[in-house]
Symmetry: C2
Subunit: 457 residues, 2 copies
């Protein structure tokens, strides 16, 4: 008997699941139908800031696999079609073709929910005006590029997190005078403030105005109905263009309405195989689920394409009859503003305190490669360990070329639950063009280890 | 009572041990005397190729700490003074001031042997002529720079390992026509041949002539007594200058004569605290010791400044009354030729076979960053796992900018004895300017995991 797999959402998680299931089971064994609201599939949302900034010339470069490629792969993909209801008892979904409004019910044996995220848009005056842009999907990216063609001189980016910082770079690359409004005391609140401060100083050096501790209150509109300024708790900031970088939340209204349990961050909850808890036949993945943080032991919400792809792989493998697990995340993230690289993993001070952990930390400065080698950039590393045990809890990096990707060392060490003493002994790649003789991560580990009374181990 | 610590060798391991012991114990508790043959201390031997190549302008940039700085730190440092005998029973060393020939005995309570390595120089005709250069220490580096000032047009580099490859780059940067003679079928024999081949192709593209499978037999001299060519099993190769890149061996004649047990590679053997096995009062570290390979479980010889510094830290901490351990290495190494980055960790096919391990491997090609982001360089990853268990055994990387340092991910995973299935789930830093959505290391892990029948775990 042919089973029917229905996938809701045609981006990373959904189409990875579909493709992986297809790889493992033939069309006779498994029929696959996928619904996607937009006209696009499997694209890199993380790449949108670089398309808007001009480093990536064409929208289609961001598309990893087109609808046609998925169809050629034996997936019945319905683009421009939104699923508007899940009937759990009847094991069917109601979909609506957006162009015609035509609706139909489709039965499933297995279901993947990959509805993604929706950008946070403040319900404040002026925020729905033309010239106020989100950058969550390719459509929004295209609209912002259209706005840029109207010749704006200034932009206000609302939000000091990853998207905000990346969009500030993009607007500066487009020649605009840029103001970044950060609600927290320093931008990049997933870093501790002393590292966030380095990001602010770096951005200011690049000519970006950073207004910290500023909550946006209104987009002030000109006679043409487009932005002329943003008013915040800190004053008025001129803006021909407003970019929203307030982050996203899980798009789970559909799942909620169908009666699926959601976590405290509003995302779907799954087991290690990405099966939705309390179900036998429903999987979920990507930006609409919560994930286990392996360091804190609690669930968190983190919207990242790299996780979405893994979720899809695991769900598709399981649906295809194989064994696979997504054990969780350690909270790794990276970005940059021009040449300033910014990365973090594990828990920051605030998150560690929330998890009831006592923290000992250290901050070190180093060069990313041997100090005598040409082009050696400075970098700062903050490392956090559990007081008493010396277990690594987190790391944060701000620095020049070669700094950021070093966070992976700490990410793997966190996964393996190493102590900072064990970190000191890691056999990391050393040669002068690549690292000082003591890698900056090891320098930080030595300093924290000293504070918790631990030697190399 | 004041104890007396004697250190033989004033480079990384010796002076790290001395400095760390000094930090932990006052001059009243511990007197420290260090003997160094040359006039230099604590310098980066790994930086010599870049000084010779001209990327580093001044010799002294390679010196991390001068003799004066060590003396100001309360260490009685005797430069230009060689230890010529260790009297284990009498707990004393006999030293000779090289300038005067004056000898004296110095008693010790604790001894650190950090005599380093000596370059392998073939006992073949012509190899002791002027114009044939090693690059093991600052003196040899200076002599080679002097030779370059005589206006040579061509250089033959003998040896296709790390030093050979780095010196080929240095000679090419100096404008010479360069031939690299590699005894193995492909250069970089610590890589498997299919990756070594990529190194050869990369070097050839840069205009370096690579002669593989070539054993040097003679340096042919001109009328001036300087090289005119090198004769190998593969023919005659024009050479106004010859650079030896045949690697090094532990400088342990002194230790051998004193009756210390040496390992099968000729290095001193120590426990985890870097104490020489069978002794209570003698430590050793750096290029004169063998180290445990944590992947194979056997001892190996690997001369690297990064290990030497750790050995010194551990020995000095232990001597200073603290707890510290150097558990071993996983065999990580990195180098480059111009923009081609080369890295490896763990065991290669040959080493795994020697350790009695059955290997499943995969080779993948990827971009180092998102393919659509400007400047995305290609990279190749080979990954090896144990057949059956899927335990990661090793990884090798050859590629462009950003490729090499990724080897650290595999190095940490090896230390934690992860399986390739576990690797797939690693939470590595992702953003388009830093990585494709699947990091190349994860792509390789997926491919090997598939072959050993393992899913993400």
């Amino acid at each position: 008997m042919t089973e029917h797999l229905v996938v809701i959402g045609g981006d990373a998680a959904g189409m990875s699941a579909a493709s992986q299931a297809r790889r493992r089971r033939s069309a006779e064994e498994l029929r696959i139908t996928a619904f996607e609201r937009t006209g696009f599939t499997s694209y890199s949302a993380c790449g949108i800031p670089y398309w808007v900034g001009g480093q990536v010339a064409e929208r289609d470069e961001l598309i990893a696999r087109t609808p046609e490629q998925h169809r050629a792969n034996g997936i019945d993909l319905r683009t421009g079609t939104e699923v508007v209801e899940i009937d759990r008892v009847g094991r069917r979904v109601r979909s609506r073709e957006l162009a015609t409004g035509a609706e139909e019910w489709t039965s499933y044996d297995r279901l993947v929910i990959a509805t993604g995220a929706e950008p946070i848009r403040p319900a404040l005056p002026g925020f729905d005006a033309p010239g106020v842009h989100g950058v969550q999907d390719l459509g929004e990216g295209g609209a912002l590029l259209d706005s840029l063609r109207t010749g704006p001189q200034s932009a206000v980016v609302v939000g000091g997190g990853y998207i905000g910082v990346e969009m500030a770079e993009a607007m500066a690359l487009r020649g605009l005078s840029v103001t970044l409004l950060s609600r927290s005391a320093e931008p990049m609140p997933t870093l501790d403030p002393e590292l966030g401060r380095l990001v602010r100083l770096g951005m200011e050096k690049l000519g970006i105005t950073v207004v910290a501790g500023a909550a946006a209150e209104e987009v002030l509109l000109g006679a043409d109905g487009r932005p002329r300024a943003v008013r915040s708790t800190e004053g008025e900031h001129p803006a021909d263009l407003v970019v929203l970088g307030l982050g996203v939340r899980p798009r789970t209204e559909l799942a909620r309405a169908a009666g699926f349990a959601l976590g405290e961050h509003g995302g779907l909850l799954t087991d290690e195989t990405m099966r939705v808890v309390g179900t036998e036949e429903v999987w979920a993945g990507g930006d609409c689920v919560e994930v286990l943080n392996l360091v804190s032991g609690t669930h968190q919400y983190v919207a990242l394409g790299t996780h979405a792809n893994k979720h899809g792989l695991v769900a598709g493998t399981t649906i295809g009859g194989g064994r696979a697990a997504f054990p969780g995340v350690v909270g790794t993230a990276i970005t940059k503003v021009f040449d300033l690289e910014i990365a973090r993993t594990g828990l920051n001070e605030r998150e560690a305190a929330a998890a009831g952990l006592q923290v000992t930390s250290a901050v070190i400065e180093s060069t990313a490669i041997a100090g005598y080698y040409p082009g050696a950039a400075l970098m700062t590393v903050k490392m956090l360990a559990e007081t008493g045990t010396g277990r690594l809890l987190g790391a944060q990096i701000v620095g020049g070329a070669g700094a950021g990707k070093r966070i992976d060392i700490a990410a793997v060490a966190l996964t393996a639950r190493m102590t900072v003493g064990q970190l000191i002994s890691l056999d990391l790649a050393y040669a002068p063009p690549f690292s000082p003789v003591w890698d900056p991560i090891l320098v930080a580990a030595r300093k924290v280890a000293g504070k918790v009374g631990q030697g190399p181990a």
